[in-house]
Symmetry: C2
Subunit: 213 residues, 2 copies
Amino acid sequence: MNQSYDPVIETKTKILDTAERLFGERGYSATSLRDIVAGAGVNLAAVHYHFGSKEELLDQVVLRKAAPVNVERLRLLDQVEAEAGTAPPPVDQVLEAFFLPMAAAAECNPPFVRMMGRMLAEGLMMGIVAKHFQEVTRRTQSALRRALPQLPEEELLWRIHFMIGAMAHTMCGPPDFTQRGADLGDFRSRIGRLVSFLSGGFQAPIRESREEQ
Amino acid sequence: MNQSYDPVIETKTKILDTAERLFGERGYSATSLRDIVAGAGVNLAAVHYHFGSKEELLDQVVLRKAAPVNVERLRLLDQVEAEAGTAPPPVDQVLEAFFLPMAAAAECNPPFVRMMGRMLAEGLMMGIVAKHFQEVTRRTQSALRRALPQLPEEELLWRIHFMIGAMAHTMCGPPDFTQRGADLGDFRSRIGRLVSFLSGGFQAPIRESREEQ
DNA sequence: GTCTATACTGAGATAGAC
DNA sequence: GTCTATCTCAGTATAGAC
């Protein structure tokens, strides 16, 4: 993994590693650059030399972890669409292609995924999503479009919006009602619950708005 | 509304009004106390005298706006449960009891509801929710429990968790795909879409997790 | 090119005079 | 109750050592 002992790579990597750990443990806003450089044993200004700003550092931390997840997502999407052929692919399979790679990553590093959820929810990820998740977003959207051919485009986009919200909140961390620590890292099972829920939501009939005060 | 010209009330109210406006316009984190006191024409220390901290100020701002919404929510929940009698109340009616009062408030003050969504998503509202939304949370949960008698308790709690996430993200603001400014304040229609989506999600069958890598 | 020391600006919070 | 002055800590910027 460390391709050599080049001191340049060393410093950059130490900052990335420490930032990833502390962002996961304490959250982005609650982690100061001074915490990070103290933990990494490097100078404060090195962060700005290598990354330019705290936000750019976050960007690089997220990219490093999310890139392989997105590769796997695209691979599963390819597979699901190939299996379906010309028929609409099953909604839950498309959703699984989107969520399972994240669940797998989450099991390796739960704090990081929780941080991603918090970031996404805080709106701090909008720029990052636009930059690094563009392809996955586009491909998932088009797969869902094929899976739900009867759903109006605008309705589909709104439902994807709802999905993102549910996902972000679910990634954030365990809700208050989970008492057992055993459930903390069990992303797999919560992703399963999320997929059934969303699958029902995507396939729900469009309801006429009622006339009520 | 201003019950008198008591200067104490005046200062407190001016701070609350200005904070509500600026939090809505710029978000909580992006609004400094110095911005607020400048807008309100009061001294910086007055905020800490009257509210103790920026977080407590947010708490009071939210409470002032959310209290009547929650009263209306409870009224609608009473109505829905009374109409249903001993039968399970319809899921979408329970959801409407939860969401319509918020939509009505949102139409009066869209920026504020957007801010609430952002706060909720950022996790900054956890303490506030625990303090001021306890009754509504409990009642909504028990109505959904009655509406979905066959759903295991744990599954219901997770689905409520997903609902909160979708709601927070939906309140936050219009997603990127809405180009027209006309849609910005149209909370009513997006709440309708959200209710159909969630209704489908709550009533979805529980899927067994697939064996797949 | 890399990294260090240090200073700058603005944030929330607080003590104490009035 | 209110206000001035000040404290600590945040992110950021820069000059210069190596």
